[in-house]
């Protein structure tokens, strides 16, 4: 495990936890390596929500289970956390937030911090969050100028006096934090390169814009909705037609209609909503109309745990839709890949005329981390459409199975797409020979599209004997394991495209005596796909399915047992 401080703030929905989190991570990012993630209950007000801010001396992208500093914001914010305490943990809060009995039971190092009282003294209860920001910034001796700049940026639209009041509240908190004699310290790294602090939602949003998205239809469902909200906020500036659909069935049918008419369209949803879209996925398959589908996973079955995380829908997207047709599934684990894969999704969908899935999860979408700046290439804006001539046939049989795609209204021909089996012109047919020709043409793309397979990344020693495998959001925690393990013969294969798999991927498994697939689900869905598609002998599976992501300590323990 990397050297780090784990700071957890625990309160209730509606207390503004997200604001403190954003302030802190932005300020910390200038002087430390930092990663933060939240866990919230499925409600609008009340309950118990927390965020963990992990501060480190080297790059990190994962969470700790244990807490160093715990800040309580009300008397309902402690009861879920005792099992995450260490003997060294320091708890901050009003005296009454934790009972005398509990303080004794857990031998708490308890520091009185009366945020509400301090805020009232500063002029209003509203300043409690700013004071807490100041306090933690003070404890870590963060740059005051940076913090003040962030406060100004956030509040300037509400006027100078509000900015001044918040800065003075911050200063008050900062002085108290500075004066606190910290028992747990973390040396500041000599220097930290400039990073962009970004969450998965924003990374995807930027990538989608870079891929040329101009149409989005979706029905709200957590955690898939944040991408819709991001794009709605950018809609004017970038030209995106966003339409909230009446249901998920309409959403994907609309996206396909828009795509047919020449838009770069997508939908964003979660497992339950996606289940309603499956008939339209199959439609995309037969009409060969591009579509990008973002599925943000959360634990099922059915409503499951609406605000928690899981990697339980890989099978769903691999097999969704009746009949047989090719598709591509991308799953980012690194923030950079969130941007890059989202951009490329449209290009792939257009190039191969297949549905392309972006499979993420609640944890990955809602965690904030540091990303090195880079630039997107215009290359992936390329559109593969043609202008039709008089004799245009939408499903013209070609050598590779890809028929030139025209847009209705552009050219002299007609663009006829049909969910029935169809001939080259798009007319309905029941001719068995035509059926075979069309099915062969569509299925031929399954091999073809592997030419653009998103290569997996090997992290760790090249002469490994034991191979850990993960896809999507387990990236951060597996990478930290590899970077900190004392075992010298373990590497980690970070898979970015879990389906379909090229046979070339098999070479990674040739030298591995042990293959351990780590997944945030019960059955090990990707492990099964590896065996099914490539015949990989998966020797061990490490799974977690309680609704939380893997914590580094847990993974150390679980892998410690497996990698013997």
């Amino acid at each position: 495990m990397k050297e780090s401080l784990s700071i957890v703030v625990s309160g209730e929905a509606g207390q503004g936890l997200a604001t403190i989190e954003e302030f802190l991570v932005e300020a910390l990012s200038m002087e430390y390596y930092v990663f933060t993630s939240k866990e919230v209950m499925s409600r609008v007000r009340g309950g118990n929500n927390t965020f963990e801010l992990r501060v480190a001396t080297s790059p990190i992208h994962s969470l700790r289970k244990t807490i160093d500093y715990l800040f309580l914001l009300n008397n309902n914010s402690f009861y879920r956390l005792p099992k995450r305490l260490l003997p060294t943990t320091v708890v901050f809060g009003e005296d009454a937030f934790v009972s005398v009995e509990e303080k004794e039971k857990y031998s708490l190092k308890y520091e009185i911090l009366e945020l509400t009282k301090l805020a009232k003294e500063a002029g209003s209860r509203m300043f409690a969050n700013t004071i807490l920001f100041g306090y933690i910034a003070g404890m870590l001796e963060l740059n005051v100028k940076v913090a003040e700049h962030l406060i100004t940026k956030r509040f300037i639209h509400r006027g100078e006096p509000i900015v001044a009041d918040n800065i003075s509240a911050f200063t008050k908190g900062y002085e108290l934090g500075l004066a606190y004699e910290a028992t747990l310290k973390l040396k500041k790294p000599a220097s930290v390169p400039p990073f962009k602090v970004i969450d998965g939602n924003t990374a995807l949003g930027i990538g989608l814009l870079g891929g040329g998205i101009n149409y989005l239809s979706s029905y709200p469902m957590s955690p898939g909705t944040s991408v819709m909200m991001y794009l709605t906020n950018k809609a004017d500036e970038f030209g995106v037609l966003v339409e909230q659909a009446e249901d998920e069935i309409a959403a994907l049918n609309m996206a396909l209609g828009a795509s047919y008419a020449g838009a770069r369209s997508m939908v964003t949803t979660s497992g339950g909503g996606f289940a309603l879209m499956t008939e339209a996925v199959s439609l995309a398959g037969i009409i060969e109309t591009p579509a990008v589908i973002h599925v943000a996973q959360r634990p099922g079955p059915a409503t499951g745990l609406p605000t928690r995380t899981e990697q339980g829908d890989l099978n769903l997207v691999v097999y969704a839709g009746h009949g047989e047709f090719p598709r591509i599934i991308l799953s980012p684990g690194k923030l950079e890949d969130g941007v890059l894969l989202a951009q490329k999704a449209f290009w792939l969908a257009d190039k191969y005329q297949v549905p392309v899935f972006i499979l993420s999860d609640q944890y990955w979408l809602e965690s904030l981390g540091q990303m090195t700046s880079f630039e997107l290439s215009e290359q992936y804006m390329e559109s593969f459409t043609v202008i039709s001539d008089k004799d245009y046939k939408r499903y013209q049989l070609t050598d590779d199975g890809i028929s030139p795609r025209a847009i209705p209204g552009f050219g002299e021909g007609f663009v006829k797409v049909d969910s029935d089996e169809h001939d080259e012109s798009g007319q309905i047919t029941e001719d068995f020979d035509v059926r075979i020709a069309m099915q062969n043409k569509r299925m031929n793309k399954r091999e073809l599209l592997l030419a653009d397979y998103q290569d997996a990344e090997l992290i760790g020693p090249k002469n490994y004997k034991k191979l850990l495998v993960g896809w999507g959001s387990t990236y951060g925690v597996l990478k930290e394991f590899i970077e900190t393990t004392s075992l010298s013969d373990v590497a980690y294969l970070y898979v970015k495209q879990p389906f379909p798999l090229p046979t070339s991927l098999k070479s990674y498994f040739d030298q591995a005596q042990q293959v351990v697939v780590v997944e945030n689900n019960y059955t090990g869905q990707f492990a099964n796909i590896l065996t099914l598609e490539l015949g990989v002998n998966v020797t061990d599976r490490v799974n977690k399915y309680n609704g939380e992501p893997f914590f580094i300590e847990e993974l150390n323990e679980q892998l410690g047992e497996v990698l013997k």
Partner: protein, 284 residues
């Protein structure tokens, strides 16, 4: 006859005597008389015998899933408002399977014509009750007769605020054609519920039945801008009024109301490619 007619023989999958044939004639004539550019017309349909109509018209089409023709049509129209978009299907397709899309696309008021074949029965699935089947109609799945209240699509469309509501009967091709023309010309959502017999499965609501149980409005006398009058006609089901029941030309269509088009009416498909440097600025 019509440039939208096929130039070669086609094998049409409808039963001899099906009401779809005269309706096809009415549509072909309407398109011809409106002098539309064939390449700018797009049909969107779902599944069923009615939804096969676009197969037999020389224009572009998106023949998609059961019940979803309206959703697809709305999206096509919204990304390219220059196109003439027609959503077409049967009573089961549009009012049953696609019921939710019907409700919400009336609210959107997209500029499209919505043609619904209403023969009060399911055809392609072989004679089950449809949302508009009258009580008592014996079907292959309601063997002792339909017991649920039939849907009143024109009253429902009016109640939802549809900007154009029409009803026709293919017994009069000329009048049906005129209503279809008016629906296509209307800027906004225009539904035309079209009575026609199913000669194979509906032995009650026959050609003669439709003829005897409906009457054509005198459009000169009926004030189609009078919502109350239209609703009265829609709710009176002893004898069904045929014609343009209601038209509101003032209602803003989707492609002018949506924020995407409020300040710039350039169709989405005609706008310049995105400037990647602007996207890259977000990564700084």
């Amino acid at each position: 006859m019509s440039k939208f007619d096929f130039k070669h023989d086609i094998d049409i999958a409808w039963c001899p005597g099906c009401g779809n044939f005269p309706l096809r004639t009415a549509i072909l004539k309407a398109l011809e008389e409106l002098n539309l550019d064939q390449t700018q017309v797009v049909f969107s349909s779902g599944i069923g015998q009615a939804a096969k109509m676009p197969q037999y018209i020389d224009a572009s089409y998106f023949n998609g899933l059961h019940g979803r023709g309206l959703s697809v049509a709305q999206a096509i129209q919204s990304v390219n408002p220059k196109l003439v978009v027609i959503a077409e299907g049967g009573d089961g397709d549009m009012y049953g399977e696609g019921g939710n899309h019907f409700l919400h696309n009336v609210r959107r008021n997209p500029n499209l014509a919505h043609i619904v074949h209403n023969n009060m029965i399911y055809g392609l699935t072989k004679g089950q009750g449809s949302p508009t089947s009258p009580k008592g109609l014996k079907t292959t799945t309601q063997v002792s007769g339909v017991y649920n209240e039939p849907l009143n699509p024109v009253a429902l469309a009016l109640a939802l605020g549809a900007s154009f509501v029409g009803r026709a009967f293919t017994g009069d091709v000329e009048k049906t054609k005129e209503i279809i023309k008016a629906a296509i010309a209307h800027e906004g959502y225009a539904i035309v519920d079209i009575f026609h017999p199913c000669v194979t499965y509906n032995k009650v609501n026959t050609f003669a039945w439709y003829k005897n149980n409906s009457y054509w409005l005198n459009q000169e006398e009926h004030n189609a801008q009078d919502f109350g009058a239209a609703m009265n006609l829609a709710l009176n089901q002893e004898k069904f009024a045929l014609g343009i029941l209601y038209q509101n030309k003032e209602k803003t269509p989707f492609h002018k109301a949506h924020p995407y088009y409020v300040n710039d009416s350039t169709p989405l498909v005609d706008r310049p490619k995105r400037d990647i440097t602007k996207v890259n600025a977000l990564l700084k």
